[in-house]
Amino acid sequence: MKHIDEYRDGRLAQGIAATIAAEAIGGRQYQFMEFCGGHTHAISRYGIEDMLPANVQMVHGPGCPVCVLPMGRIDDAIKLALRPEVTLCTYADLMRVPATAGANLLKAKAAGADIRMVYSTLDAIRIAEAEPARQVVFFAIGFETTTPPTAIAIRMARTKRLANFSVFCNHVLTPPAMRAILGSPDAPAIRLDGLIGPAHVSTVTGTAPYVSLATEFLKPVVVAGFEPLDVVQAVLMLVRQVNQGRHEVENQYFRLVTEAGNLIAQAAMADIFEVRPSFEWRGLGELPVSALRLRDSYADLDAERRFSIATVRAADNPACECGDVLRGLKKPAECKLFGTLCSPETPMGSCMVSPEGACAAHWTYGRFRANASGVAQKAVA
C-alpha cells in the first residue's frame, strides 16, 4: 500500500531508534505524551516502546473521544434509541461503552432498540432518506476529524429537507483538552517533557492552534503521522527539542498537515456549530469552551432540542481509575481493576472498551510486559 508501507519499515525504525538512544542524554528521563488515541494504538500495536531506550517513555493521553464521552451522554443515547420512533445511527466504537448500571448500546440493540452501526454520516443520511417514517438521530462524537463530516451531513439534511434527521452532538475540541492536561495541577506529577500532537485532527485544524500551548506551557509539540516510523521520528524530534531547550511546534506529518489546515472544513464547522460554555469530559471533569453544539440557525436539526434531552450526570464506578489513566497519572496496569474486574469482555470504564483507549491497547498488545508490581498479566480464556 503506497504511502503506508514505506512508513512501516522496521529497519529504518531501528536506525532512528538507535539515533534516539545516541542523542538521549544518559541519566536524563524523557517523558512524552501522545495525545491521540490513534498514536496510543500504533505504539502498542507495533511495539514501539520496545525500540526506545529505557530513559524515553511514553505516557498515554486523553485523545480518544470514546474514552472521554461521559456516561450520562450514553445514557441519553440509549434513552433516545428506546423511543419507538427513533433509529439511532452510531459509529461501531460506541456500542460497548459502559453506561449507567452496566447498560450499553449493544445490549439496548439486543433488547429491540433500533440502533444501526454506520461507517459514515453519509449512511445516516441515506437511512433518513430511505425511511421517512423513522426519526433518524446521528450520535455524533469525536474531535475535529469527525466534526466536518457531521457538518456536511447537517447541510445535506437541510438541502434535502429531511425533516426526520437530527444530530445528537458530542463533538469536542483538541486544544482545550491539551490545555487541560498541560495546565492541570497534576501536570508536575506527570513530568511531561513534550507532546506528540494529533495526526488527522491537525489536517483539519492546522498546526497553528498548538503554538500558544507550546509557548504558554514551555513544552515542545511535534505533530506526527500515525504510521510507526512517523511516531519514532517524532520522538527523535522531541528529544532534540528538549536537548536544545526549545519549545516549538514542529510538523513531522507535513505530507498531509499544513499550518493553516483545511479551510473548507473549518468554515463548515464554524457555520454549523458554536462552542458550549462548558462540557463534562469523562475523567477530566468540566472543561470550559471545549465542546460544540449546533447553532440556533440549525436548531431544527439538533436532537437535544427536538427530543428535549436533559442530561443527568452519571457517576463512574468509584473504583474505576480511567480519569487518572486519561490524564497520564497512572499507567493501565496500575489501575486496581485492570485485568481483574476490568477487561475488554467486561469493561468497567471507557479506557478499556475503546480500542484506542490506553487500557484496551495495553491489554490487547502489551500486557505481557511486567506491570508496576513486576508481574505480567495472565492470559485469560
Binding site: 525504525a13 516502546e49 466504537d93 475503546s354 498488545y365 505480567a376 492470559a379
Partner: protein
Amino acid sequence: MAQLIDEIFRDAFDNPLLDQGNDQAGFDVPAGRMVMSTDGYVISPLFFPGGDIGSLAVHGTVNDLAMAGARPLHLAASYIIEEGFPLADLQRIAIGMGNAARNAGVAIVTGDTKVVERGKGDGVFIVTTGIGRVPPGLDLSGDRARPGDRVILSGTIGDHGVAVMSTRNNLGFETQILSDSAALDGLVADMVGAAGPSLRLLRDPTRGGLASTLNEIALQSGVGFLIEENAIPVRAEVAAACELLGLDPLHVANEGKLVAVVAPEAAETLLAVMRAHPLGRDASLIGHVTRDEQRFVQMTTSFGGGRIVDWLMGEQLPRIC
C-alpha cells in the same frame, strides 16, 4: 411443500443411501478409530463471494473431521427453514452442498427438514454432522504442543471474513476477495502421509481467526507461542480491506485454512508437502511453541517490536478509531 423440499435435496445430493428414503442410513464402518463432529451454520448473509451457507456447512464439518487427521466418510444434514424462504434459493444452496460434498468425496446420506414460522428463523439454518476414520498411529490433540515445536499455517488469512463483510451494505466497500471456503481433507491426507507420527495437532482458524486458535492451543497445551508477523501470508486486498475497516487480519475468520503444530525435525518436509497441494500453496512456517506460564501468544511485529496476539473479544465490530 414438504415433498417439494424433499425433492430438492434428493436431487441435489443424489446418492443411493439417501434415495432409499428411510429415516436413517445404514452402512458398514471400517475397523479402527472413528471420529464424529457436528456444527450449526447460521451465517448471514446466506450467499457471499466464493460460497454460501450450504458449501460452508459441508466444508466446515469435513474440516472438523480432517483436523483429527480423519478421512471423512458420511455426512448428515438438518435444515431449519423459515416459512416463505424462496425455493429457488433453497435449491441453489442444496446444489452447492451436493457439489461440495462430491468434491470432498463424501455423501450426505441422511437428513431432515423442518419449517418454522416467519420471523422465527433467519432464512435457513443448517446443522451438519459427519463421521470419519482416523488412520492408525495418528494422535492429534490440542494438548500435545510442546516447547520447540514448529507452527505451520497453510495459507493466507482473512479472506473469508472480509468476503462476507464486503456483502454487508453498511460497510460500503467493494472488493474481488473470495471466501477461502474449502474442504481440507485432501491436504490433510497428504500431510498425514508425509509426517503423521510427527504431527502434534491440526486446527482450522475459523471464528476468531488465527489469534483465537493459537490462544486456545496455548491454554490446552499449557504453552506459549512466538510467531513472526512477516511470515504470516495476507493478500494485499485483504490487508487493504482490514486497514479500511480497522480490523486485525489475525482476528478474521477463515474457512479453508489450517494450523499445524509439528515436531521440529519434520517441519521442512511437512512444509514442502503442503506447498505441493493446491490448498497449501502459500503454506508458511510462522513460528514455534515456547515455554510460557502465562500462556501468551507473542508476535514479533513486521516493524521489529513485540506484541501479544490476543483472543478476539466479543463480536468483531469494524472500528472507526
